[in-house]
């Protein structure tokens, strides 16, 4: 399955051709993760492995509840546990980490392989593995440190937002499995409205900085968090406070491309014009005679 034909594509990596976009009424979808309702049971991780037919190898424990300790080519979502102590209080912050499905995806911007990363019109950013060349540029493009390159096939993997389920009207596997309904799925609009109810509730219970994480630096995301401390996202296992595509990546994948090709073309054209206007630089007969004179009878 290359891409899902029933979904239109908004952006396609490393491609100049216009993608198919006849379906203009695509609804933008979003997953809303309510961190305040998560109990850290890892049902979402299990559901992700099961639906995507992945097997995470048994690893080791680093003394925390993080298991596995990081995202891997097989674990596209991981619960990250943070013990947040302030005053006499201890809060256990549990964030389900994974692809944020940025509206302006850095991975797609950085990818050099045509069609290896696509963004559907519903907002889902998906890796099309058969087109992936394993260069790791998506890792450099991502502001959230999400893609992982497999050591087995040198291809990049990450959460697909269960695009194959969404395309047939199903919610992602993690949302389906969550026992506390900490993961919602629906239109982005509905998810924002729903988050507002949750935030009002959290504020009424003393979390005065509760808020929605939908960072504008990447154009908003199609995975959003309800955070009790939205003023400090980095509390949640290093969630970026203000994620943006790195200016280095912007330069590399932006102005540098046309300017470089133009410089090379200019050098070629300059050489051509020089040759046809000045003609070749040839050795004259006088030069040849003087050269022979200098060498004299000597065999060089």
């Amino acid at each position: 399955m290359a891409t899902l034909q029933s979904l239109d594509i908004r952006r396609r990596s490393a491609s100049n051709e216009a993608p198919p976009q006849i379906r203009q009424n695509a609804m933008e979808v979003a997953k809303l993760i309510d961190v305040s309702k998560c109990i850290g049971c890892k049902a979402c991780q299990a559901a992700c492995l099961e639906w995507n037919d992945l097997k995470q190898e048994i690893g080791y424990t680093d003394g925390t509840y993080n298991n596995p300790t990081d995202l891997t080519p097989a674990s596209w979502t991981v619960m990250r546990f943070t013990e947040y102590e302030h005053g006499d209080d201890l809060e256990w912050l549990i964030r389900k980490d994974g692809c944020m499905h940025c509206d302006d995806p850095g991975c797609l911007k950085a990818c050099p392989a045509p069609g290896a990363i696509v963004q559907y019109t519903n907002g889902i950013v998906d890796f099309v593995s058969e087109n992936c060349i394993g260069c790791g540029y998506c890792v450099k493009g991502c502001p959230f440190n999400i893609p992982r390159i497999s050591k087995v096939d040198r291809k990049a993997y990450k959460c697909t937002l269960c695009v194959d389920r969404v395309a047939v009207g199903q919610a992602p596997a993690c949302a389906k499995a969550c026992p506390t309904q900490a993961i919602y799925f629906g239109s982005k609009q509905d998810m924002i409205v729903h988050a507002e109810h949750r935030i009002t509730d959290l504020k009424s219970r003393g979390f005065k900085n509760a808020g929605l994480y939908n960072p504008p630096g990447v154009g908003g995301t199609h995975v959003m968090y309800v955070l009790h401390h939205a003023d400090r996202p980095s509390l949640y296992a290093g969630l970026p406070d203000d994620p943006k595509i790195s200016p280095m990546v912007g330069l590399w994948k932006g102005v540098m491309k046309p300017i470089s090709l133009a410089a090379i073309a200019f050098a070629g054209v300059f050489g051509f014009l020089h040759y046809i206007t000045k003609g070749p630089n040839e050795v004259s007969e006088a030069d040849q005679r003087k050269g022979d004179e200098l060498a004299g009878g000597k065999k060089s």
Partner: protein, 208 residues
């Protein structure tokens, strides 16, 4: 023209060294450009597809680095800058208009050739260093993400610089007739030596 009428310019070993460098630089430029600009991705077909291009590019880079290192140690003493080079550079306009008569007699290399030499030396060193940072298969764990992003920019910029210098280098060889045989046969004519590198020619024939 009999072999008696030519001046030996490069040993066979030096020429093989240069050919290995030349071929690897062209392959690197093609495979690198393929991964740099989407419009040139089709060039990956020359290397057996995208994955193969990604896998083979760094290895060609290793060949180029060590091959160029050989050229560097062969020729760096001949490429040290001197006062005549400064005069030559000031008269670059006359040079590109093929009016070299008033300029100082030159040793084995003119200032333009020396700039090509030092330019490529610096850029290839930077390309090798930044290339290792980007070579995830072996070196992924040795650097952090900011260093990798910086390396991507440095690698691309240096590659463009090296390609531009290469264009100047190749064009000079095409423009200045009689040059290319130094690369293909190792020798140049007496007339060519008199016109372009007279001081070197005098040393070669032992008549300074």
């Amino acid at each position: 023209m009999s072999e008696n009428n030519v001046v030996s310019r490069y040993t066979t070993a030096a020429r093989i060294n240069h050919w290995i460098t030349a071929v690897s630089l062209i392959l690197l430029a093609l495979s690198g450009m393929a991964l740099f600009h989407p419009s040139l991705f089709f060039l990956t077909n020359l290397f057996g597809g995208g994955q193969m291009t990604r896998a083979v590019h760094p290895w060609i880079g290793v060949v180029l680095f060590f091959s160029f290192l050989g050229l560097f140690f062969r020729f760096f003493t001949l490429n040290l800058w001197n006062r005549d080079d400064t005069v030559w550079m000031k008269n670059l306009g006359a040079v590109i208009n093929d009016r070299e008569e008033g300029l100082p007699e030159l040793g084995k290399y003119n200032a333009g050739q020396k700039l090509v030499f030092w330019g490529q030396s610096i850029l290839i060193l930077l390309l090798f260093g930044s290339g290792l940072v980007l070579w995830d298969v072996y070196f992924e764990d040795y650097t952090n993400i900011d260093q990798k992003r910086l390396s991507a920019v440095v690698h691309a910029l240096c590659a463009i610089g090296a390609i531009l210098i290469w264009i100047v280098h190749v064009y000079a060889a095409i423009w200045v007739k009689g040059t290319l045989r130094a690369m293909t046969r190792g020798s140049v004519t007496r007339g060519w030596s008199w016109k372009h590198h007279r001081k070197w020619f005098r040393q070669e024939v032992g008549k300074p």
